[in-house]
């Protein structure tokens, strides 16, 4: 008999706009010790499904149907009975470890109260149990962490604490709702590895909710694919990946940019038409140097240790050089906190550079006065990460896009402005009738298209894209990436594409730069970087990315990085990566490696040649 048996589950929400039917007639079961993946995009009802099981729907939500845990219907239970199930028999971990832990209580406080709520244990015994679990989730110096506050821990450590807290009472079911979405790939790999390991040790059944098919491939036994509140497909993980039955599943799998695949020209877009067919890619080879960044440094003064503390430099970008040709795409990857967004902002002079030069078409931007800089900005545009937040909510789409035109060409006729605005909107796939609507009336993907239109309307030569697709669903992500590639082909744009998703970067970039703690550790063309990564950090980064292919995922060997990114306020001496590097030697602590050529690649590692030779032998 299965542990959890869900039949005909329906979840509805009463909203001012009428009833929203979030989950429709969903049936599934979960066996003991099994890992079930629920995959879907935002709005698919995957989170509401599990929230309804433990009675945590929002106040305006109701669930009906049957959800039997060992024969007891969870949906018919009293509040008090359900409370005894939560945390003890079914526990949960959430997406964002930054906000899911109470910032005002110590780790021990939040953990012991869970134990003592469900079991009669002394304070000491509860504390001992917590310590045991913190050690089980491999938290170093666990006994000291017990009295720490969440903000004193890194994101990965906090998610470990969440996991430890959820396993305190040895639950039969662990629900993990996007447990690694807010984390870097390297930390994600550590956490997934941990979950798989704990599952065997504690014999817990897991429901893993995710939008990432790579994670599903590596960790799940069976998969539910949901879309628009309905179950689209249900099957073993290999069936789903190798013989998907439903068109939606096939579309979803095709839309994911893959790390293990030679690049295709376009990503499949799910459900929606992309922009019109395009001409061939503009010839990048003959192009001249557009952007030349030389030894760029951006330091921030920070207070160390509270009010009136010692002031020190946070070296966000510490001596970076790069060259970009027109029509070329440079991908920039690295963990959060590595300085990639600061680099983007310094290039467009949204933050002042501390030292170094940024030259656009041979012109040093730092030497320009206000008017000259404004003129230069015509060629230099930005697209931001959060599509909705980067559009002014009080301005119509027409106003948003015409504003740059009015700023740079104040004498332009109103009719001409309108013509250009409509023209650029149609280029990004938005009709001219939408001109008078406000940003909140559009979806995330459409907002990002509007952001792109705003950047395009001045016909720039370079667009800096700061994580432009990170906040979007997989299928929308594919549309935006395709759009950017098409626009580049048509207009000969140069792009700096910043992302933490290595697969997306692989898909869109000609060359890729890997950043670590404010410095570039490797720059190479796409093929060599992904096929023959030279720097140990690049290797670890690539091996951390889950591949949406169950067989490959289970057979590949991993180079897991241990620990977290060190503080950029006091980076390690010598090679900054040495504290997490498997190959580090004494020399690495004393001598900082310079970026130097190795074949066609630029790499900053003392032992790049030896590592390359080793890799070739294997």
């Amino acid at each position: 008999m299965s542990l959890l048996d869900v039949r005909e589950l329906n979840v509805r929400f009463d909203t001012p706009d009428g009833e929203v039917h979030a989950v429709r007639d969903l049936s599934f079961s979960l066996a003991r010790g099994e890992t079930l993946g629920i995959v879907g995009e935002s709005g698919s009802g995957k989170s509401q499904t599990v929230m309804s099981l433990i009675g945590l729907l929002a106040d305006n939500g109701r669930a009906d149907g049957v959800a039997e845990l060992d024969g007891e219907n969870l949906l018919a239970m009293s509040d008090a009975a359900l409370r005894r199930v939560r945390g003890r028999r079914i526990s949960m971990i959430f997406q964002d470890p930054m906000t899911s832990l109470n910032p005002y209580l110590t780790v021990a406080d939040q953990m012991t109260q869970v134990v003592r709520e469900h079991e009669k244990l002394s304070r000491q015994a509860a504390r001992a149990r917590c310590l045991e679990l913190l050690e089980a989730v491999r938290i170093p110096e666990a006994s000291e962490r017990l009295d720490a506050y969440p903000h004193e821990l890194s994101g990965g450590m906090r998610q470990r604490v969440m996991i430890a807290a959820s396993l305190l009472l040895n639950p039969e079911i662990l629900i993990a709702d996007e447990p690694t979405t807010a984390l870097d790939v390297t930390v994600q790999a550590q956490i997934l590895d941990l979950i798989t390991d704990l599952k065997q040790r504690f014999e817990t059944a897991i429901i893993l909710i995710t939008h990432d098919l790579g994670i599903v491939a590596g960790t799940c036994d069976r998969v539910l694919v949901m879309h628009g509140g309905e179950l689209k497909e249900h099957g073993g993980v290999r069936d789903i990946f190798y013989s998907p039955q439903h068109a939606y599943t096939r579309g979803l799998i095709a839309a994911v940019p893959r790390l293990d695949e030679a690049r295709s020209e376009r990503l499949a877009a799910v459900g929606a038409a992309g922009p019109a067919e395009t001409s061939a890619r503009a010839a990048a080879a003959a192009a001249s140097t557009l952007l030349d960044v030389d030894d760029l440094k951006v330091y921030f003064r920070v207070q160390h240790g509270g009010l009136w503390g010692e002031r020190r430099d946070l070296k966000a970008v510490d001596g970076m050089s790069l060259v970009l040709k027109s029509g070329e795409t440079l991908g920039v990857v690295g963990e959060s906190g590595c300085g990639k967004s600061t680099l983007a902002r310094a290039i467009v002079r949204l933050v002042p550079a501390t030292a170094g030069r940024v030259c656009l078409l041979g012109q040093d931007l730092a030497t320009l006065d206000r008017d000259a800089m404004r003129a230069a900005r015509r060629d230099l545009q930005v697209i931001f990460q959060d599509p909705l937040a980067s559009l002014n909510p009080r301005m119509t789409v027409g106003d948003i896009i015409s504003e740059p035109l009015w700023t740079h060409y104040p004498k332009l006729e109103a009719r001409e402005v309108r013509r250009r605005v409509v023209d650029v909107l149609s280029r990004v796939g938005i009709g001219g009738r939408e001109l008078n609507r406000y940003p909140h009336e559009f979806s995330g993907g459409q907002c990002q298209r509007i952001g792109i239109a705003r950047a395009l309307v001045l016909e720039p030569k370079l667009i800096v894209c700061d994580e432009p697709v990170s906040a979007l669903d997989v299928s929308i992500q594919a549309q935006i990436v395709n759009l950017l590639m098409d626009l580049q082909a048509e207009l000969g744009l140069a792009l700096i594409f910043i992302a933490h998703d290595l697969a997306v970067v692989r898909h869109i970039s000609h060359r890729v730069m890997v950043m670590y703690l404010g410095t570039a550790v490797e720059i190479a063309d796409r093929a060599s970087l992904y096929d023959r990564p030279s720097h140990p950090y690049t290797r670890a980064l690539i091996s951390s990315v889950p591949i949406p292919d169950p067989d490959k995922e289970h057979s590949r060997s991993r180079e897991l990085l241990s620990g977290d990114l060190p503080s950029p306020i006091s980076p390690p001496s010598g090679c900054r990566f040495r504290t997490r590097c498997r190959f580090a030697q004494a020399r690495c602590a004393n001598e900082s490696p310079a970026l130097r050529p190795l074949g066609a690649t630029l790499v900053a590692c003392h032992f790049a040649e030896e590592l390359a030779a080793d890799a070739a032998r294997q």
């Binding site: 005894r84 939560r86 945390g87 910032p103 709520e117």
Partner: protein, 307 residues
């Protein structure tokens, strides 16, 4: 912590100096003087008096003399209550004011926080709307209107409580002044609590606590109360100032012999030293209250650390 406190105290000195200077010169700008009476004094007597109190010296000189006195902890003699020093007057008035003011703050906190939390828990219910409507009324009605209404109801019509005066100093004499002083604060704190509590209850860590099977009461007390109280703690600094200014009016209405009354009487009589003494005393009190607020904040919020 100790270093921080010391630094804050030293940092308050320039603020207090500006306050003292402003008060000192402004009261001198007011027409009239401390010895004006209905029956004019003989010129020789007045000159004598002025010389005794150094009022014949140039103003900057007087200011320097006053500051010198302050440094030694001497507020000087009262010009009006001739047998008393200002220090003595403050020491008789302050305990009364403190009882009323502190009482009002405690009542405001207890009622404001609990009523506000209740409204937050039953958001958009009839309870919520009632609480919010009443607190809007409480904020809108000034205390010099509220106090007479309260006197009318509870002293005149019902006869439950005395209409004014301190009587023998029993609690029942303090109830009306404390309540009229506290009402606007209860209203404001209730609104503040409701807002911050609603926000805290929506945060993901509350969802975590629910998913861990904690009962509602424990979630509220252990998880939500502390973060929800932070804005209220910040407000306690300005609240102290509001209660002090409020007490000036309230003590006058209820005829309570507190510091506020001395302040009003002193200003009317051009009792320079008394007014100055009360201003300095209030200034120090408010600086001190704000320091306490900041220390309480650090104690509540683990992310704030003073070194």
């Amino acid at each position: 912590m100790l270093r921080y406190t010391l630094r804050r105290v030293l940092g308050a000195i320039p603020t207090l100096l500006i306050l003292i200077a402003l008060a000192f010169f402004m009261i001198r700008l007011a027409p009239g003087g401390p010895f004006d009476a209905e029956r004019a004094l003989l010129p020789e007597i007045e000159a004598n008096l002025r010389a005794t109190y150094h009022l014949d010296e140039p103003l900057p000189m007087q200011f320097a003399r006053y500051l010198g006195g302050l440094v030694r902890g001497d507020f000087g003699p009262s010009f009006q209550y001739r047998d008393y020093t200002v220090t003595e007057l403050i020491m008789t008035g302050f305990p009364v004011s403190l009882r009323i003011g502190l009482g009002a703050m405690v009542v405001a906190l207890l009622f404001g926080v609990s009523v506000g939390s209740l409204a937050a828990l039953r958001q958009n219910s009839r309870t919520d709307y009632t609480v919010m409507a009443m607190s809007m009324t409480g904020i809108s009605i000034p205390n010099f209107v509220m106090a007479p209404i309260l006197i009318l109801i509870f002293a005149v019509y019902l006869g439950w409580l005395p209409a004014g005066g301190l009587g023998d100093g029993a609690i029942r004499n303090l109830i009306l002044p404390v309540v009229s002083l506290a009402l606007p604060q209860i209203a404001y704190i209730a609104r503040l609590t409701r807002g911050s509590m609603i926000e805290v209850l929506r945060s993901p860590f509350i969802r975590t606590a629910k998913a861990q099977g904690l009962p509602q009461a424990k979630i509220l007390l252990r998880h939500a109360l502390k973060p929800a109280l932070l804005p209220i703690v910040s407000y306690l600094g300005p609240a102290t100032a509001a209660v002090i200014t409020g007490s000036v009016v309230i003590e006058q209405i209820f005829g309570v012999p507190g510091l506020g009354r001395f302040f009003v009487q002193g200003a009317l009589n051009r009792d320079y030293t008394l007014v100055m003494g009360v201003v300095v005393f209030y200034g120090v009190l408010i600086v001190f209250a704000n320091l306490l607020v900041d220390l309480a904040y650090a104690w509540l919020d683990p992310k704030v650390k003073y070194a």
